[in-house]
Symmetry: C2
Subunit: 216 residues, 2 copies
Amino acid sequence: MPLAPHASPSPDDPFRERTRRELLVAAETLIAAEGHRAVHARRVAQMVGCAVGTVYNVYRDIDGLILAANLRTLAALGDVLRAARDAAREQGLEARLMALAVAYVGFASAHQQRWRAVFEHRLPDDYPVPPSFYDDRRGLLGLIEDEIADAMPDADGEAGQDTARQDAARALFSATHGNVLLALDAKLGPVEPGRCERQIRFIVHHVVAGLTRDHR
Amino acid sequence: MPLAPHASPSPDDPFRERTRRELLVAAETLIAAEGHRAVHARRVAQMVGCAVGTVYNVYRDIDGLILAANLRTLAALGDVLRAARDAAREQGLEARLMALAVAYVGFASAHQQRWRAVFEHRLPDDYPVPPSFYDDRRGLLGLIEDEIADAMPDADGEAGQDTARQDAARALFSATHGNVLLALDAKLGPVEPGRCERQIRFIVHHVVAGLTRDHR
């Protein structure tokens, strides 16, 4: 794909920075309205009023642009989850985990296409993913790990090895994710308000009962 | 889309039946190799050696063809799950539920694109879905409901109303599905063999401990 002649400014070029931001907003708009498969260089370039080559020059390729949009979605999700955690700080473990889960359900429902893009967008195997992407993901799982830390005090493994506590956090996150996903897709039948939350509570309730029995 | 002149035989026409089968095999081949988004009328028609219009005449549209392929995948998944259930019949509840989960993980891993097509393919809202699609889904959830029936004996609700047992089966299925999906996508970090199963066991173990404590 040829680059437009004006599309190679220095990294601190204010024009380049403004274009980067505008392209990101255009991509987010398309994702929110139509999903990440609607993000094409030609469309975002047209929305921003730049050359198609500029998209590639600034974001390397369309995957890079979608990845940048997904990073913003992960950051927004993190804000929502941390706010829920803070509001539930004085409550018991089940209520604290449910506060995170309910916030997750709410975010996924309110920003369904952006949320789907984070999970459905697949990068080529050798794609240079910025470390911040893994950090943000790690941070979300860390929210769950922090909550269950008291109930799983013996879970610290060797350096570099995953601990039972990390497995538990992934298990709970994935369980919640699966319940939200199949509810939003209505893949198991029609969605009823509250049913998804009831299903997640069924899991969380028993896990918390088990953990607090095992470790306290 | 114009129909080919020869593409309107009577429903019991052996030519039509053979074409229907061949188109289905072609669609399954494409789904297995490239995913359900690769199924286009032109490609399957070319693979089978029929007119493009025949695809629409036999399957209504591409959604109808993908739906037919997904029904076959659901049936194959059902066979695998029922075999796992039968093999674990003499074991305890946790082992029986884990046998179903492990069979599910195995099917999803071995037939990843076909499995994804069942969950990722979305039909238009007013699409006439054959009742067998819902029956097959219901049947899969029914496998879990049957296993937990003894542990949730008080769960029968009013006619037409979902019971706590049905909610529990959906919760467990969705939790397993979420753990498999995020493991196969490696969305939470690199996949390790056995880790996905360990995560599912964490959920199943605590749920079974809770159910058997509550109800026995």
